[in-house]
Amino acid sequence: MAFKINVNGKSRNVDVEEGTPLLWALRDGLGILGPKFGCGVGQCGACTVHIDGQPVRSCALPIEAVGAAKVVTIEGIGATAVGKKVQAAWTELDVAQCGYCQPGQIMSATALLNATPKPADADIDAAMSGNICRCATYVRIRAAIKQASGQKVEA
C-alpha cells in the first residue's frame, strides 16, 4: 500500500506493505541509501535517522508509525547548520575507517549537539553508545564531536 512520508523536506509516496521498517522503505522504496542496515533490531545504530529531530533507529520503526513526522536522513542533515559542522569535523579529522556506520554516527552526533551544544564526555558516552563502530573509530568520533561543538580537541 502507499504511504506518504516527509523525507528531507519533501513529501514522498512509497509503496510498501504495512509493517515494513522505515529503513527498507527508504532504501528499497525510495532509493535513499545513506541509512545503513547493520543489525535489524535497533542495536547498532547504522540506520539512524531523525524523526522530528530525534535520533531513531529506522530498522525497527514500521512505516505506518511515521505519519506526518519529518524524517531527515544523512542525505539531508547537511542542510542544517549543526549537521554541516558535524560533517566538516568528521572530514577534517578523517574519522571514518570503512565508514559504514558513520551516517548513523553523524545523525546521533548532530542530535546530541542540537540538544547539548557543548557536550561533556559523559554526554557523548550517553548519546553515542547506541551506535556501534566495528572499526572502533571512537577516539576520533569523540574528537570530532568536540571539534564541531567548538571545544578543545585532545589528540
Binding site: 542496515f37 533490531v41 547504522a46 542525505e75 579529522l93 571514518a96 565508514g99 572502533a136
Partner: protein, 730 residues
C-alpha cells in the same frame, strides 16, 4: 600469518606508454616471479596514472578498500614521486582485473610492503617522462629541469610548463628504466607522511552509495538465502509455496550446493521485489535440514577433548630445542597453566551481500570483497563458466577483518541470479552473518615454564591443542615453530594435538597472532611474577641483546626493534613511575606480526563487582622508516587496539549441536563509545622498509589488558573472553 599472501620478491620491469583520451597514460607492468615451485605466487601489477591537459591527475587504486585506507594511501605513494599536488589528484577504484592491475587483495597487511618501492618508481617514471618532454621542447638538458606541484621548470631560461601541457608529448617518449629512475629524498616529501583524509571522506559523511549494499542495477530483484544452522547441512524440505505466497516474492528455490564450506553451501533462496519482502517470504519457508555428521559437535565437547588430549602424548612435536624436562627440573621456579580462547566472529558491520546479473552466458558482479580474483575463480568453477566471462566490480566494503577474503556470498549471489534470470542483490541478515562465518578458531595451550634465580627463562613447553582434520591445521588455527619465544629460550618444546571440527574457520585480523599473543604474553607475565621481576625488565631480558634472529622477511625476528618499542611504550606510559590507586593496574605486552613490532601498555581499573574499565592504552610501533598516511595509519592502530580489547572483553561464538549460538549484537557485544579508552600512538621510526598497519597493533592489546587486570587484582585471566564474575572482590 599472511594466509597465502606471501609474494615473491624479485620483479621484472616492463613499462609501456600510450596516449588515451588526449592525456598521458602511463601503464606499468611489473611482473613478479616467485620461482617455479610456487606458480600461484606469480604476480603482475599495473598502476595507471592518467593526466589531462588541464593538469588533473587520475590515479587508479588497485586494491579493495575495506576501511584500511588503501584507496588513499597507494595513490599517495605514486603522487609523491610524480611530484604533483595531492589536491590535483582524483583516485579511481579498479575493477577486479589482475591481467591489468596485478594481484588485488586486502589481506596480511601486505599492501604497503608489496607496493612501497614499486609505486614510488611508477610515480617517478611518470615524472621523468614529463621532464624529458619539457627538455626536448625547450632543447635543454633534462638534468637542468626541476619539478614542483605538477609543473616543470628550467631555471636558467626561466621556462616553465604544466605537466598537462606536456602530456601529449610525454606520451610519445620511451619510458625510463624503473630500476634506475631517481627517487626523492624523503626530506622533500610533500604528500607522504602528511595527514591526508581519505579520498571518499566527503562521500562517506553525506551518505553517498559507496558500498556493496548500495548497488542498484536496472531491473534488480532482492534475495535472501536461508542456510543450515549446522554448517553445510543439506536442505531436507522447505515450503517454497508458502514463501511464494508472500506479496512481492517472485521465486523461491532450493540451492543444492556442495560440501565445501568455502564454496556454494546448500540453502534456500527467496527472490522478491524488495529485500523486506524476500525476508518475509523466507520466514514462511520452515526449512528442515538433513542430519549432518558434525551436528553433535560443541564448544563444551572441544573443551573436554582438549583437556583429555593434553594428558596424552601429542600428535606430533613441532619443535624441540634443548631439553625441556631438564630445563624445568633445573629451574628456580616453575609455572604450569592452561590457556584457552574461543571462536569469534568478524561481524563486519555491512552484512555479507553481493549483486550479480547473468545474461547470455556472461556474469557481471558487484561485490564488497577483499579477494576478488579468488571470488571470480570460485564463481567460474561453481557455475561452469569461463573466468573471462565474469566482470567483477569492487565496491567499498563496510568492514572486512578477513571475512571478505572468503567469497561464499559472491557465489551464492551469482548462482541465485542465474537461477532467477534477473539481476539480484543478495543480502544476509546479521543473524546469517554471525551464524555463518569463517570464525577465528578456538584453541588451547597447556604450558609449563621455568625461570632461574637470575630471572631468565630456562624452559618453555607448550602442548598446543588446536583444531584440524586429517592431521592438518584448520584454516588460521596454526602456530609457527618460530613463534616467540622459540629461539629466545634454550629449552623449548612445542607439541601439537588436533581436534577434528566441522566449524568453518579462517583468517580474522592478525590471524593466529590475535590469539597466540594473549597466551604467550600472559604466560611471560606469569613467569615474570614467579621470578619476582618487573614485567618490562623481564621482557627486555628475555629479548636478549641480539639483533635479527632468523631470516629477514621470512621467519626473521628483530629483537632489537622489539626492545625499542617495549622501552618506548613503557616510557610513554610512565611505567613504574606512576602511583596507581587500588584496583588499578598497568600491563604490558608485545608482539611481532605482519612485519610490525608492537608493544602496548594498558591501564585498567577493576571495580568491586568485577567490571573492567580500560583507562588508557599506550602503543609503541615500529613499522619502518615511513608512515605513508598518518591519518589512516593512526586510525588503524587505534582501531586494532580497540578491536582486540572488544574481543577480549566480551566476544565468544559458542558452538552447540554443530551450530553457532550467538545471533546478533545483543549476545555478541561489540565495544561501544562509553567503553572506548583513549589510545595514544607512538611510532618509533627506524631505518627499515615501511610495512603495514591493518593488523599488527591488535595482538598485544588483549594480553596487555589481562596483565593489567593481574596487576590490579592479582587474578590471572587464562581464558577469553574475560569473565568479570571471577574478578569480583565483594
Amino acid at each position: 600469518m599472511a594466509d597465502g599472501f606471501a609474494e615473491g620478491a624479485s620483479r621484472r620491469d616492463l613499462l609501456k606508454t600510450g596516449a588515451l583520451a588526449g592525456g598521458l597514460v602511463l601503464s606499468f607492468n611489473l611482473a613478479g616471479k616467485a620461482g617455479a615451485a610456487a606458480p600461484a605466487a606469480d604476480a603482475k601489477l599495473n598502476a595507471y596514472v592518467s593526466l589531462t591537459p588541464d593538469n588533473k591527475v587520475t590515479i587508479v587504486s588497485k586494491n579493495p578498500e575495506i576501511g584500511q585506507g588503501i584507496k588513499t594511501s597507494l595513490p599517495m605513494i605514486i603522487a609523491e614521486e610524480f611530484d604533483v599536488d595531492w589536491a590535483s589528484v582524483t583516485t579511481k577504484q579498479a575493477d577486479g582485473d589482475p591481467a591489468t592491475y596485478g594481484r588485488q587483495f586486502a589481506g596480511g597487511s601486505m599492501a604497503t610492503p608489496l607496493h612501497w618501492d614499486e609505486l614510488r618508481r611508477v610515480g617517478a617514471a611518470g615524472r621523468a617522462m614529463v621532464v624529458a618532454a619539457a627538455a626536448q621542447t625547450w632543447n635543454v638538458p633534462a638534468a637542468e629541469c626541476t619539478t614542483a606541484s605538477g609543473v616543470v621548470y628550467h631555471k636558467a631560461s626561466g621556462k616553465k610548463a604544466t605537466y598537462g601541457a606536456l602530456a601529449a608529448k610525454a606520451a610519445t617518449l620511451p619510458a625510463p628504466d624503473l630500476k634506475t629512475v631517481p627517487l626523492k629524498d624523503p626530506k622533500d616529501y610533500k604528500i607522504l607522511g602528511k595527514f591526508m583524509p581519505q579520498v571518499d571522506s566527503a562521500g562517506l559523511v553525506t551518505g553517498q552509495p559507496l558500498f556493496g549494499i548500495d548497488v542498484v542495477v536496472p531491473g534488480m530483484l532482492y534475495a535472501t538465502f536461508d542456510k543450515a544452522p549446522v554448517f553445510g547441512a543439506k536442505v531436507a524440505s522447505a515450503d517454497l509455496a508458502a514463501a511464494k505466497a508472500v506479496k512481492g516474492v517472485r521465486q523461491a528455490f532450493v540451492v543444492e550446493g556442495g560440501t565445501d564450506l568455502s564454496g556454494l553451501v546448500p540453502g534456500v533462496a527467496v527472490v522478491a521485489d524488495s529485500w523486506w519482502q524476500a525476508r518475509k517470504g523466507r520466514e514462511k519457508l520452515n526449512t528442515q535440514w538433513a542430519e549432518h555428521p558434525t551436528s553433535k559437535q560443541s564448544s563444551a565437547g572441544y573443551d573436554a577433548q582438549a583437556l583429555a588430549l593434553s594428558k596424552a602424548p601429542p600428535l606430533r612435536t613441532e619443535r624441540n630445542d634443548g631439553d625441556v624436562a631438564a630445563g624445568l627440573k633445573g629451574a628456580a621456579k616453575t609455572v604450569e597453566a592452561a590457556y584457552s580462547y574461543p571462536f569469534i566472529a568478524h561481524a563486519a558491520l555491512e552484512p555479507m551481500n553481493c549483486t550479480a546479473a547473468f545474461k547470455d552466458g556472461k556474469l557481471e558482479i558487484w561485490a564488497p570483497t577483499q579477494n576478488p580474483e579468488a571470488g571470480r575463480q570460485l564463481v567460474a568453477k561453481t557455475l561452469g563458466i569461463a573466468p573471462a566471462d565474469i566482470t567483477l566490480h569492487m565496491t567499498r566494503c563496510g568492514g572486512g577483518f578477513g571475512r571478505r577474503l572468503a567469497n561464499d556470498y559472491m557465489v551464492q549471489a551469482a548462482w541465485i541470479a542465474r537461477e532467477a534470470k534477473a539481476p539480484v542483490k543478495m543480502l544476509w541478515t546479521r543473524e546469517d552473518d554471525l551464524r555463518y562465518d569463517y570464525y577465528r578458531p578456538a584453541g588451547y595451550h597447556f604450558l609449563s615454564g621455568g625461570v632461574d634465580a637470575s630471572g631468565s627463562v630456562t624452559a618453555w613447553h607448550d602442548h598446543f591443542v588446536s583444531l584440524g582434520n586429517d592431521g592438518r591445521f584448520a584454516s588460521s588455527a596454526g602456530m609457527s615453530p618460530t613463534e616467540f619465544p622459540s629461539r629466545f629460550v634454550p629449552n623449548y618444546r612445542y607439541d601439537l594435538s588436533l581436534i577434528p571440527t566441522g566449524v568453518p574457520t579462517g583468517p580474522l585480523r592478525a590471524p593466529g597472532s590475535n590469539a597466540l599473543s594473549f597466551v604467550i604474553q600472559s604466560f611471560i607475565d606469569e613467569l615474570a611474577h614467579a621470578a619476582g621481576a618487573d614485567p618490562v625488565a623481564f621482557r627486555l631480558k628475555l629479548l636478549g641483546d641480539g639483533g635479527m634472529m632468523g631470516t629477514p622477511g621470512q621467519n626473521g625476528y628483530a629483537a632489537d626493534r622489539m626492545r625499542g618499542v617495549v622501552k618506548l611504550a613503557a616510557e610513554k606510559a610512565g611505567w613504574g613511575k606512576t602511583k596507581l590507586p587500588k584496583g588499578t593496574g598497568m600491563g604490558i605486552a608485545f608482539h611481532f606480526s605482519h612485519m610490525g613490532y608492537f608493544a602496548e601498555v594498558v591501564q585498567a581499573t577493576v571495580a568491586a563487582d568485577g567490571a573492567v574499565k580500560v583507562d588508557k592504552v599506550w602503543v609503541a610501533a615500529d613499522v619502518g622508516r615511513q608512515i605513508v598516511n598518518p591519518a589512516g595509519g593512526i586510525n588503524q592502530v587505534q582501531g586494532s587496539v580497540l578491536d582486540g580489547l572488544s574481543a577480549a572483553l566480551g566476544q565468544v561464538i559458542t558452538i552447540e549441536n554443530g551450530a553457532a549460538v550467538q545471533s546478533n549484537f545483543g549476545d555478541y557485544p561489540l565495544l561501544r563509545m562509553a567503553d572506548a579508552p583513549p589510545v595514544e600512538v607512538h611510532f618509533l621510526i627506524t631505518d627499515n622498509p615501511p610495512t603495514g598497519l591493518g593488523e599488527p597493533a591488535l595482538p598485544p592489546a588483549p594480553p596487555a589488558l589481562c596483565n593489567a587486570i593481574f596487576a590490579a587484582t592479582g587474578k590471572r585471566i587464562r581464558s577469553l573472553p574475560i569473565n568479570t564474575e571471577a574478578l569480583k572482590s565483594v
